[in-house]
């Protein structure tokens, strides 16, 4: 039903839209060189194609397609219409397939990360490519002296419908640990939840932005998510100091706590289990073209008594206004069983055609 509604809105808007000018097309591509355990590999995440433009004076459309560097078909990352002008009471609406307003990082495309790869803890909750779903969002400015925005979204599928293959392996490992704790009947739980996880989901976010002065800004956010048998609460912070175009400092941190209830990714877990994930990052731009920073990435399963933490440092070089960026990351990587820690070095060369760019700051 929701798909039909969203589809109807999009078709109507495109049909009756004033398409007097071509939309903007952009392409972002990359090359990634990984060095781990004396093995070096050359990879590419493929290309992202962005098609963006105004549908009419009140609405714009943003479409992001991803073609992985393999034989898989082109994947629709986002196809969303945003109405920001023309609605009463300062309302805004997004409709289509998009990245929900849940936490800070979920809305960021991977090419924006100065640390190249998404924090592993966040991917355990949001999925390898983060949560993108078909639905509708309404948001409103709250009548406060500072910028305060509240958004509420409804989707046809929850985060649970995503593939979390790496965590499923971990789930098998921890099943026995849970049994030892309080004899919970995991087999029944799996049978009970054996149906397909396509239940509807809601997310909310309340974000605040404070312009402390001309060069210091602070952003705070609270997020919530409710899906079938799962819920997420989160908070995030971003501080930015930017005195001129040659220097800036960003401190960003985010924590999400995922209440798994009794099943997670079709694997039984303790009904009170909570997966907590977070990261903290500092990124310093010390020249027009250079930046460096550090990040610490953390996750834990409370009852399974399992956790992981990966620190890393990163460096970026952008010679020509972010149309091409060279990134380097050196970080710790834990193996599947969390027994061994490895040093992983990653180099990324990322380029863009068109106005959609791999912004750094």
């Amino acid at each position: 039903m929701l798909k039909k509604l969203v589809g109807g809105i999009l078709i109507t808007t495109f049909t009756f839209g004033q398409t007097t000018a071509n939309p903007q097309f952009s392409v972002i591509g990359d090359l990634v060189i990984d060095h781990l355990n004396k093995n070096t590999s050359l990879l590419s995440s493929g290309i992202e194609i962005a098609i963006q433009g105004y549908v009419n004076p009140f609405a714009r459309a943003d479409i992001y397609l991803h073609k992985h560097n393999d034989s898989s078909p082109i994947e629709l990352e986002e196809a969303v219409m945003t109405i920001e002008r023309g609605l009463p009471f300062g309302l805004g609406i997004r409709a289509g397939k998009f990245r929900p307003d849940l936490g800070k990082i979920n809305q960021s495309h991977a090419h924006l990360f100065p640390y190249i790869e998404a924090p592993s803890g966040m991917t355990k909750i949001l999925g390898e490519e983060f949560w993108s779903a078909t639905g509708i969002e309404t948001n409103v400015f709250l009548p406060l002296p500072w910028y305060s925005n509240f958004s509420l979204s409804y989707f046809d599928s929850g985060i649970g419908s995503h593939d979390h293959s790496d965590y499923e392996k971990d789930g098998d490992d921890h099943k026995d640990d849970h049994k030892d704790k309080d004899d919970y009947n995991y087999d029944d739980a799996e049978k009970h939840h054996g149906r397909e996880k396509q239940a509807n989901a809601f997310s909310v976010r309340w974000s605040h932005f404070f312009e402390l002065n001309d060069v210091n800004h602070l952003e705070l956010g609270l997020s919530g998510y409710s899906g079938q048998d799962e819920g997420i609460l989160g908070t995030d912070l971003k501080y930015k100091w930017r005195p001129n175009k040659y220097r800036s400092l960003i401190i960003q941190a985010e924590v999400l706590q995922h209440s798994l209830e009794d099943v997670y990714k079709e694997k039984a877990v303790h009904p009170d289990e909570k997966l907590t994930a977070g990261y903290a990052m500092v990124n310093f731009q010390f020249n027009k073209a250079y930046n460096f920073g550090a990040m610490i990435d953390y996750w834990s399963l409370e009852l399974a008594d399992d956790e992981g933490m990966n620190p890393s440092i990163f460096f970026g070089y952008s010679p020509v206004e972010e149309s091409a960026v060279l990134r380097l990351k050196i970080g710790q990587l834990e193996d599947e069983g969390h027994h061994k820690k490895h040093l992983k070095t990653t180099v990324q060369i990322i380029w863009s055609l068109g106005p959609h760019k791999p912004h750094r700051y």
């Binding site: 009140f58 714009r60 920001e84 002008r85 023309g86 609605l87 300062g90 309302l91 805004g92 400015f141 500072w146 910028y147 925005n149 974000s207 932005f209 404070f210 312009e211 001309d214 800004h217 952003e219 930017r242 001129n244 175009k245 040659y246 027009k288 073209a289 010679p319 020509v320 206004e321 149309s323 055609l353 700051y361």
Partner: protein, 274 residues
């Protein structure tokens, strides 16, 4: 609201006590790249009129206006009456650097264009607030008179700048140079918005030595590194000019912007200007 401080100053002059105007970009900020802050959207949300520079200089403004969700704001492009310079006549692409499709957008740096901006501002204020139309018209007339008088005085006082060779960091100054007779012989940027390369700097050094160029001028927001390097190898003088109101000390109004820049240049060239 306005995108830049120059337009904000003109709006303040024409609107007088009947308007409250704020600029998104600060005077010492590069107007090509302004970070879109949510707080800007909140400011535009309360605005009746938004004055844009146009010519794709302040493309960022549209995102702020959209994000404001102000369905009543009137968006005004101040460049519509400008006689545009350097409009590309052939196909352009990113290999040429950051070329503006509709011509060089730094038009406010010719004081004659300040009058054209003021007329658009007055026209929009009058149509929006007709009960104060007489006041806006009177302010416009006075501003035009003041600018005409100032242009006449500057033309005489700074006549010694005419035909002086100058190197600019970025191509922000064609309107200014044309008005006051400066001859732009080169730029530090090899292509628009491309950081000066060692080979470009070497080329500029050779040119300064062979042609006896006396002054390199840059916008306030650019780093001194490249100009200082060239100055250390030659006898060239380096100056910072106000590309917008509030960019440097003294340039605290639209008229003072020109007075300040011309005085800085006259001092750098060592020519009399009184």
């Amino acid at each position: 609201m306005s995108s830049t401080t120059d337009i904000a100053d003109i709006v303040k002059i024409i609107g007088g006590d009947h308007v409250a105007v704020t600029s998104i970009a600060r005077g010492n900020q590069d107007p090509h790249y302004v970070e879109i802050l949510p707080s800007y959207m909140l400011k535009v949300r309360k605005a009746d009129i938004y004055f844009m520079v146009g010519m794709e200089l302040d493309l960022w403004a549209q995102q702020i206006i959209d994000g404001s969700r102000n369905r009543n704001v009137l968006v005004v492009d101040c460049s519509v009456e400008i006689n545009k310079m350097e409009v590309p006549t052939a196909q352009i692409d990113a290999s040429m650097g950051d070329i503006h499709r509709f011509g060089n957008p730094h038009y406010w740096l010719d004081p004659e264009n300040g009058k054209l901006i003021a007329r658009i501002v007055a026209q929009k204020l009058i149509s929006h607030d007709s009960k104060n139309a007489d006041q806006y018209q009177a302010n416009l007339n006075q501003f035009e008179k003041d600018l005409d008088s100032a242009i006449s005085i500057w033309t005489k006082r700074f006549s010694n700048l005419k035909d002086k060779d100058i190197i600019f960091y970025h191509n922000s100054w064609p309107y200014f140079s044309k008005r006051f007779g400066l001859k732009t012989v080169d730029f530090l940027e090899p292509k628009p918005m491309i950081t000066p390369s060692p080979s470009k700097l070497n080329q500029v050094i050779q040119k300064i030595k062979s042609d006896g160029i006396e002054v390199i001028a840059s916008e306030s927001y650019f780093s001194d590194q490249a100009p200082k390097f060239i100055a250390s190898k030659t006898k060239v003088k380096i100056v910072k000019l106000a590309q917008s109101v509030g960019a440097i000390e003294g340039a605290d109004s639209y008229i003072n912007l020109f007075e300040t820049n011309l005085t800085i240049l006259a001092k750098a060239y060592g020519v009399s200007y009184d």
